[in-house]
């Protein structure tokens, strides 16, 4: 075992332990935080494969943006754990069967030819000036441009739909126009009155 193997097994152990913790932890905030940990360790594993752009993007998008919103929601919800666990044993056999089938299927796919260790050797080391980001950008905008643009349009449709669903026109809201506020001069608001001082009767 050399140093690289050690790093791989270390990250893999942390990843599997934290992923197990996500589903077994009682506190939903702990679950969300363990999911963050598993994303970060997964990014570490991708770095070992010299996929630095994907690894950093995983941290940037999932850890930096998606999980923050998850954590936000989980923290603000008042989750009743006892009520959530009510039907656990009732549904357990069904869930266990599903999980077993899933694991068996994944194992069958992974042990087949195209995914074997011989078919997927570790990638050759690249030169120091090789830029993963540049290569990825070149491929996305030439060979895979159709699929890429399609994904972008789907995301745009989802975004428009989300805004259209939550858009409400309220008539009772009080809003100020900062442009007008800035334009206000002293003369609009203030009137200085000059008057002689009065004597007490």
């Amino acid at each position: 075992m050399n140093f690289q193997d050690f790093v791989f097994y270390f990250f893999a152990t942390v990843l599997i332990t934290s992923a197990l913790g996500v589903v077994t932890s009682r506190n939903p905030v702990y679950s969300a935080l363990l999911l963050v940990l598993s994303f970060v360790t997964c990014a570490g594993l991708w770095l070992l494969l010299e996929a630095e752009f994907l690894a950093i993007t995983l941290v940037l998008v999932y850890v930096g943006a998606v999980m923050v919103l998850f954590l936000f929601v989980v923290m603000m919800l008042d989750i009743n754990l006892d009520r959530m666990r009510e039907g656990f044993w009732k549904w357990f056999p069904f869930g266990a069967l599903l999980a077993l089938v899933l694991v068996a299927e994944i194992a069958m796919v992974l042990s087949s030819g195209p995914f074997s260790l011989e078919a997927m050797p570790s990638p050759p080391a690249q030169a120091a000036d090789y830029s993963n980001t540049k290569e990825l950008g070149r491929l996305i905008y030439t060979e895979y441009v159709y699929a890429f643009e399609l994904a972008a349009v789907i995301l745009l449709v989802a975004m428009v739909a989300a805004i259209a669903l939550t858009l409400r026109h309220r008539t009772d809201k009080v809003s100020l126009d900062p442009g007008k506020q800035v334009m206000v001069r002293r003369e609009d608001r203030l009137r200085i009155v000059k008057m002689a001082s009065e004597k007490k009767e």
Partner: protein, 365 residues
């Protein structure tokens, strides 16, 4: 250096020895960055108190000296503050979630220090010269928000939670404008590597620095940076008149100081990034004799000091923003502005050479 490497390889074998040597070397280099950084943070607090004091016609800290030397009056203040913070008790509230309460400051300072790994201080002087340096910095700074949210939630107190919500919403919104402003920079330089970005600004004088062709983006980045730092005038997250001190209201002693250190080292980080991305990093303003005698590192320090002075100046000058107007500025002004500027920049870069040569654009594109 090679002798030490051979020593390591003799003790641990070739494979493990070189790995341990790399680890040990990086440890030393990390210390060489973090120790001056923390000293800089200590004296940044001193500079802040002195500068704001003179802007408000006060004296500022002037009691603690080193060994009674009269002209160093006040210079011992940051050291005294640090000693006081270390001696104080860390109080953990009864109803707080103890584990997360103590994890929060760690999660705040770790990304703030980790982001420094890819900063180039002068040509060739950089800890990790990675290709995707700018992306790495974005990823690290976006992780800082966890500490804030967790601190607010784990304290189990209304004020802390309100402060955390305000701060997190603000940080998440301004990150977008900041990211788009950085997209403009990397369109100009065609690289994500910070050293390449500085080298792309070379051109004989300060006219070729990116803050001239990208002036609106420079302003957007600087203002978003202040908003990301939760500093005045965007400090509603710790608005002391409304919610006491925001997310760290229940922290005391060293736990509070760690938040403080993270905030100030983030300040220096934003100032450094602004100087590297827009103000030419270690490049002198003019490539002629008296300017080129000064080493590049000093130029970088001067630029960082200038941006930091701006941050302190803002704090002494501007009143606090109202919360809805902070959100309006981020979402309705900065993001459209940056998107339009990306389009304009892309259009200019695609202009045919014949049109481009009619304008003096060759300096930048």
């Amino acid at each position: 250096m090679e002798y030490i490497q051979q020593l390591f390889e003799q003790i641990f074998g070739t494979d493990w020895g070189s790995a341990f040597f790399l680890l040990a070397k990086n440890w030393v280099l990390i210390l060489a960055i973090v120790v001056p950084l923390l000293l800089g943070v200590a004296y940044l607090t001193f500079a802040e108190r002195k500068i704001i004091a003179s802007m408000q016609i006060r004296v500022g800290p002037n009691r603690v000296t080193f060994f009674g030397i009269p002209w160093l009056r006040g210079w011992g203040q940051p050291i005294a503050d640090a000693v006081k913070a270390i001696m104080k008790e860390i109080i953990i509230p009864n109803s707080a979630n103890k584990k997360l309460f103590l994890l929060a400051p760690v999660l705040t300072i770790a990304p703030a220090l980790a982001a420094w790994a890819v900063i180039p201080f002068s040509p060739e002087v950089v800890l990790a010269d990675i290709n995707a340096g700018l992306l790495y910095i974005l990823a690290m700074t976006s992780m800082g928000v966890y500490g804030i949210i967790l601190a607010g939630w784990a304290s189990n107190s209304k004020y802390a939670f309100l402060g955390a919500m305000r701060s997190a919403a603000q940080v998440v919104s301004y990150e977008l404008a900041m990211g788009f402003a950085l997209v403009c920079v990397l369109m100009m330089s065609a690289s994500l590597n910070l050293s390449d970005i500085v080298n792309g600004q070379q051109g004989g004088s300060f006219f070729s620095w990116y803050f001239i062709p990208l002036f609106p983006m420079f302003l957007v980045y600087l203002i978003s940076g202040v908003a990301e730092l939760n500093r005045a005038p965007f400090d509603v997250a710790e608005g002391e008149s409304e919610i006491v001190a925001g997310f760290h209201v229940d922290y005391s002693g060293m736990a509070f100081t760690v938040f403080f250190l993270a905030e100030y080292s983030n300040m220096i980080l934003v100032a450094t990034l602004t100087s590297i991305l827009f103000l030419g990093g270690w490049l002198p303003p003019l490539d002629i004799a008296p300017f080129t005698w000064i080493p590049g590192f000093i130029w970088l320090l001067l630029k960082i000091a200038f941006i930091l002075f701006l941050f302190l100046w803002f704090r002494a000058t501007f009143p606090r923003y109202r919360y809805d107007q902070i959100m309006r500025l981020g979402w309705k002004i900065f993001i459209p502005l940056t998107l339009v500027w990306i389009l304009v920049l892309g259009a200019i870069m695609q202009l045919p050479d014949s049109i481009r040569s009619m304008f003096p654009l060759s300096l930048w594109f």
